[in-house]
């Protein structure tokens, strides 16, 4: 059980966030650049002092500002993988990986043996006696990961551990990581920028924006009911906020959306890009929401194309490359947009 209530001010950042994580749980912290994710991690690790709040891990109080408790970083059973790796330049790769063991009193020979096992697992055995300086970016990050995993902390804090890994290695390391993380009952808090990764790894997502937790829940909670534009962008859906009355949603921009759901009050309206249809001419028939727009950009994503359309409502549609050809869509071109009322899901804001 990790319970962290962290309040502090650092430069322009006012961090005021609560993070809870249960044993066995993998919590993924997501948020835009500068949201304070790294700072929150550092506070939990004991590297940045709190101004308010408390941190407890498995019942042990690590920080309690009110009672003046502060356990120093080195006495917290917490492993950290830093965003900038921070491998010791004067030690070999194996010494780096063995450092945590040595610090815990394991003798040189055993520490080295265990380090070598870890390097093996990360396919870095050949670099055991190299200096970190001679590693590539991705290799360095894998060493940092191995270093934090090599002793077994009860809480692992990982700051974008997979960012510098190439796509092919990433899958494997992620599986390795998942496997290893699964093999002990510790708590894992992980920062990643990759929403796919977040969804794949997370038991629970915590979304941090400007120092505050704006949403938390299981990946499917969060992806199905995003509550901020940032999360919506992340998940790749269109999100609007407004006031609903008998199926008619008045948006802040002044436009309205017709939905099939009956929910009154302040609501979010979510539209999946797949549900947004594009037409060359004003469409006939059932869709209740129809407006004219202008394509702002086209983005190939895998085997689909995301089309951002400006207009009365700015919205993103997802279509097939074939549709692009059929519609003769181009940047800046005119287009009609339609969304069926049944495709708009509505939930309380």
């Amino acid at each position: 059980m990790l319970h962290a209530e962290v309040g502090l001010q650092l430069g322009t950042l006012a961090l005021d966030a609560t993070l809870d994580a249960k044993a066995g749980e993998i919590v993924v912290l997501l948020g835009p650049n500068g949201a304070g994710k790294t700072t929150l991690l550092r506070a939990i690790a004991g590297l940045t002092p709190l101004a308010r709040g408390e941190v407890t891990l498995d019942g042990a109080v690590l920080d309690d500002v009110a009672r003046g408790v502060h356990v120093p970083a080195e006495r917290r059973p917490i492993g950290v993988v830093f965003q900038e790796y921070l491998l010791f330049p004067h030690q070999t790769v194996a010494e780096n990986v063995g450092f945590g063991l040595r610090a815990r009193g394991v003798d040189r020979v055993h520490a080295r043996a265990r380090a070598l096992e870890w390097l093996d697992r990360f396919e870095l055995a050949a670099y055991a006696d190299a200096r970190p300086r001679s590693l590539s970016g991705g290799q360095a990050q894998r060493v940092a990961l191995a270093r934090a995993l090599a002793y077994t902390p009860r809480l692992l804090l990982l700051d974008e551990p997979l960012a510098a890994l190439d796509a092919s290695a990433r899958g494997e390391v992620r599986r390795d990581l998942k496997r290893h993380l699964a093999s002990f009952d510790g708590i894992r808090v992980l920062i990643t920028h990759d929403p796919l990764e977040a969804i794949a790894l997370a038991d629970r997502l915590v979304i941090l924006e400007e120092g505050r937790v704006v949403q938390t829940g299981t990946p499917s909670d969060v992806t199905q009911r995003p509550r901020t534009r940032y999360v919506a962008d992340l998940v790749g859906v269109n999100l609007f906020r407004g006031r609903a009355k008998a199926g008619l949603i008045s948006l802040e921009s002044g436009s309205t959306l017709q939905s099939a759901e009956e929910l009154d009050g302040d609501v979010f309206a979510l539209i999946h890009p797949r549900a947004v249809a594009l037409h060359r001419h004003r469409p006939e028939g059932s869709p209740r929401n129809v407006w004219r727009g202008r394509t702002r950009s086209l983005d190939l994503q895998g085997d689909r194309v995301r089309v951002a359309v400006d207009g009365e409502l700015a919205i993103v549609a997802e279509v097939t490359p074939a549709a692009i050809r059929d519609l003769a869509l181009a940047q800046g071109g005119e287009v009609w947009v339609s969304v069926k009322a049944t495709e708009i899901s509505v939930y309380h804001a």
Partner: protein, 261 residues
């Protein structure tokens, strides 16, 4: 890294500097009485001075490291009130003419000094005119060099490595020994060499505080000065001996220094 081609102005400035330092040394070598060198240098007084110098300079360097590194650490890391003033005051022995430094040491630790009688009364320690006094004199003038250099090293190192070590479970001491020290290696080495060098060449404070007793406090520089009174050739010879020792030590240590850097 691309091997650097040095720019011309740098070469010129460096060459002038090298020439300026080497010509006087060449002059010393040229004028030394090589014919009687062996005989002069193996006289018991010369050997005794060599021994005293070795003991004094090494001991004072060890003291400088043991006391100077904590001091530098305190100055670089702990913002205690009055730090700047204390630091300036402990830097002063570098500036004080050494003879005055010696007088100050006598005032403090002499038999009639401020705390000399206390030391004598409490511990039976009498410093003046002992080898320990020579060590302290050398320490007094040389330790500030180490402190300043190590502090600069500590200030320019990336402290996040220490944080990483702490999260790996290393306590203060381990962090210090296994991370901080190796990372400031070049500065510590440079500081120790500076302090050792200053201690080896020290004379003013030593002769004043510790006296000039052959075999006890007469270091090579004191022997040089004494010889300079009557037999300048011997003084030159002794100086060259001092130079040769230092040169050998410096070149030999270089290897280790380079590995650290």
């Amino acid at each position: 890294m691309t091997p650097e081609r040095p720019p011309l102005p740098v070469i010129i400035a460096a060459a002038v500097a090298i020439a300026f330092f080497l010509i006087p040394i060449a002059g010393l070598i040229a004028r030394a009485p090589w014919a009687t060198a062996v005989e002069e240098l193996t006289r018991p007084e010369a050997l005794a001075a060599l021994r005293v110098s070795f003991v004094v300079s090494v001991a004072s360097t060890i003291l400088a490291v043991f006391f100077g590194v904590p001091l530098a650490w305190l100055y670089a890391r702990v913002a205690f009130p009055g730090r700047d003033v204390v630091r300036a005051l402990t830097t002063l022995p570098m500036i004080l003419p050494p003879v005055v430094g010696g007088v100050a040491l006598l005032f403090a630790f002499g038999r009639a000094g401020l705390i000399g009688p206390v030391l004598d009364g409490l511990f039976g320690i009498r410093l003046s005119f002992t080898t320990l006094a020579a060590v302290l004199a050398a320490f007094f003038v040389s330790a500030p060099f180490l402190v300043l250099t190590v502090e600069a090293g500590l200030r320019s190192m990336d402290r996040r490595f220490e944080e990483a070590a702490r999260t790996l479970g290393a306590g203060r001491w381990l962090v210090f020994r296994d991370v901080t020290l190796p990372l400031i290696g070049p500065s510590l080495f440079a500081g120790a060499v500076l302090a050792w060098a200053r201690g080896l060449g020290e004379f003013g404070a030593t002769i004043t505080f510790a006296g000039n007793l052959p075999g006890v406090t007469q270091t090579l520089p004191l022997a040089v000065l004494v010889a300079l009174e009557s037999r300048p050739e011997v003084a030159l010879m002794l100086s060259l001996l001092l130079l040769a020792i230092s040169a050998v030590v410096l070149v030999a240590l270089r290897d280790r220094y380079l590995r650290l850097a």
